[in-house]
């Protein structure tokens, strides 16, 4: 047996004995503290990841779907969008498409008015790419042949406890008539057919009319400002872009993240917060382990002296304390994951947190869990090393017979 293997074996043996036959209360308490430290590390990350995920889903489900096809730079509209749709609709993984017009407009109701984006859609197509049709809180969604009817988000309508009540129309209800002034100067009155709430600030500031209605306003036909494409998976949009180009789509094709500036901003801010809370969490966990191991080395000072006297190498003793610390940390991580998955995640699925980007539940990403577990274990190893290394620095005689 090599000396390194022997040393590891003796270190592990000592660590096992100190843990298994030591004070059980201390062991359990230390593991509990480690578990709470791990939960503390994971919880904030999971909330931030959950917020990021919720925001991404909202961007996809209520604003841009997975892929957006836009006119080339010099064009305003896509001509004959049906021909584009025909090229891509049979690509495996494409679930639906919605060619739509997008324009700015001023919507007025009684004394109040504001500028918002209006999208003009084919309601049947829109149901394939967006969840807005399922999020009506008053009235109902558009029908294919609706004219002079509009549906608006709750931040436009007002009176539904939105975040932007002061800029809203102040309490429009289904059946009310609003006046819409389009950018080309056309003004029309519309009956409010429905009000929707997506739980997402940005999409709640949208209004929808039918495509036919918009074409009559703009005086154009068979065109589109954009085509939204729904795919079966999120995060895999890149592979469709090349396929679409190969199939002869010459317009600009962009995946949803291009439009999700808010997600990037959030992620950046969350990363900074995560780094801060993570550093504090690691430090707290490290200090906890340090104190536990320090107390242990103080109480076992004489024992460590005796071990050294009988020829047990200092490195073996130090390593045995590192092993103990790592054991506490590994058990803490496992217990922490159990707490997260068995208690906290189900709780927040039942009672999600409400944020401007929607309902947020905890999202435990494998990478984050691995990184934090590794961080905690490394912190523990360092915290186990320092006091034991310090303890074996003193002379054998001081360790055994010192004050």
């Amino acid at each position: 047996m090599t000396s390194t293997t022997t040393e590891l074996k003796v270190s592990a043996f000592l660590a096992y004995k100190f843990i298994a036959k030591g004070n059980r209360g201390t062991t359990l308490l230390t593991i509990l503290i480690m578990a709470l430290a791990f939960v503390n590390l994971m919880f904030t990350t999971s909330v931030f990841d959950g917020m990021g995920d919720a925001t991404e889903n909202q961007v996809i489900d209520t604003l841009y779907s997975n892929i957006v096809i836009e006119p080339k730079d010099e064009e305003i509209y896509i001509n004959n969008p049906d021909s584009v749709v025909k090229k891509i609709i049979n690509v495996p993984g494409v679930i639906g498409t919605s060619a739509q017009y997008v324009t700015g407009a001023t919507i007025a109701y009684e004394e109040k008015s504001g500028a918002w984006n209006i999208r003009a859609v084919d309601p049947d197509d829109e149901r394939m790419v967006s969840l807005v049709p399922d999020m009506m809180i008053e009235g109902e969604y558009l029908s294919k042949y609706d004219r002079r009817e509009i549906i608006i988000g709750k931040e436009i309508a007002g009176g539904h406890g939105g975040s932007l009540e002061h800029t809203s129309l102040g309490g429009v209800v289904v059946g009310d008539t609003v006046e819409v002034a389009f950018t080309n100067g056309v003004r029309r009155e519309y009956r409010v057919k429905g009000i929707f709430d997506t739980n997402f600030l940005q999409s709640n500031q949208m209004a929808y009319i039918t495509k036919k209605e918009m074409e009559s306003v703009l005086g154009i036909h068979d065109m589109a400002s954009q085509i939204l494409v729904k795919t079966d998976t999120k995060g895999d949009e890149g592979r469709f872009l090349n396929q679409f180009v190969e199939l002869g789509v010459h317009e600009d094709i962009k995946p949803w993240p291009v439009y999700a500036g808010i997600v990037a901003t959030l992620t950046k801010s969350f990363d900074a917060l995560n780094a801060l809370t993570g550093a504090i969490g690691f430090f707290v966990a490290g200090v906890t382990i340090f104190i536990v191991i320090y107390v242990s080395t103080v109480s076992k000072r004489r024992q460590m002296g005796i071990l050294r006297a009988i020829g047990i190498k200092e490195s073996i003793i130090v390593r045995s304390y590192i092993f103990q610390a790592v054991f506490y940390a590994v058990c803490g991580c496992i217990a922490g994951l159990v707490i997260m998955f068995a208690i906290l995640v189900p709780h927040f699925i039942k009672h999600p947190m409400v944020f401007p980007m929607g309902n947020v539940t905890l999202l435990i990403e494998q990478k984050a869990a691995i990184m934090r577990s590794a961080g905690l274990i490394i912190s523990a190893a360092i915290a186990g090393f320092l006091p034991s290394w310090r303890a074996v620095r003193e002379t054998i005689l001081d360790a055994i017979w010192g004050d």
Partner: protein
């Protein structure tokens, strides 16, 4: 000429027979601005297979001498040669290995680990030497057998009397077949019956397997059981305690 050759051979035999040799060994402690000499130019030889006791009054330097010879402390001056190795040339890690391979220790307190069974306490040094599990368990049981505690192998220290714990410590000291067994007042904390058992055990080990034993003791009657007494007074070797 013939006589001279015989004398040289005798000296060489004596040298080979000597397992510990010190020359002018001194140990001075600094306490604040004061210097305290615990050992003063001690020169002595211990033969292989000898059972020697270091005796003297409190503060005479008995334990200090044992600590220097047992490599638990470093002398201020002088030379120690153990088993033909000049100790001052060894690094700390070499001293650790030297202790593991060549020494056995029995301390005044029952210096065994409370978390381990008697057998585990005993085989720990053999495990650290890199023996296989079968080897160190067998050797551990043999050592416990020698001290009469084989049937207590799975007991933890708190389940054993002071005398039994000290015998476990002796078994641990013996497991690597040490060249020298150091014992620092091994009976000081024991009742008279247990003390006698320990001393008889030492005597038997010395007699049966030729174990070299160097023991510090303050009990005058222990002088009767050993081969030789090294008397110390004020850190110096003297002919006999005054």
């Amino acid at each position: 000429m013939m006589e001279r050759t015989e004398r040289v051979e005798q000296v060489e035999r004596d040298e080979q027979d000597t397992i510990i040799a010190t020359r002018n060994l001194s140990r001075t402690y600094t306490m604040g601005k004061m210097q305290m000499t615990a050992l003063n130019r001690v020169t002595l030889d211990i033969r292989r297979g000898e059972f020697a006791a270091i005796m003297g009054k409190s503060g005479s330097g008995k334990s200090t001498l044992l600590h220097q010879l047992g490599l638990l402390d470093t002398p201020t001056e002088g030379e120690i040669v153990i088993d033909e190795v000049e100790i001052s040339g060894l690094s700390e890690s070499e001293k650790t290995m030297f202790r593991l391979e060549k020494f056995g220790y029995v301390f005044q307190e029952y210096a065994i680990l409370p978390e381990m069974t008697a057998l585990e306490n005993v085989y720990l040094p053999a495990m650290a030497l890199g023996l296989s599990r079968d080897e160190y368990v067998t050797k551990g049981m043999d050592a416990l057998e020698k001290v009469g505690l084989a049937e207590r192998a799975d007991h933890r220290p708190r389940e054993m009397s002071g005398g039994e714990q000290q015998r476990v410590a002796i078994a641990r000291a013996l497991i690597n077949k040490p060249k020298i067994l150091f014992a620092d007042e091994p009976t000081a904390n024991l009742d008279s019956v247990s003390s006698r058992q320990i001393l008889e055990l030492f005597r038997a080990l010395n007699r049966d397997i030729g174990q070299t034993i160097l023991m510090v003791t303050h009990e005058l009657e222990d002088a009767d059981i050993v081969d030789r007494v090294i008397w110390l007074a004020d850190g110096e070797v003297v002919d006999r305690e005054g």
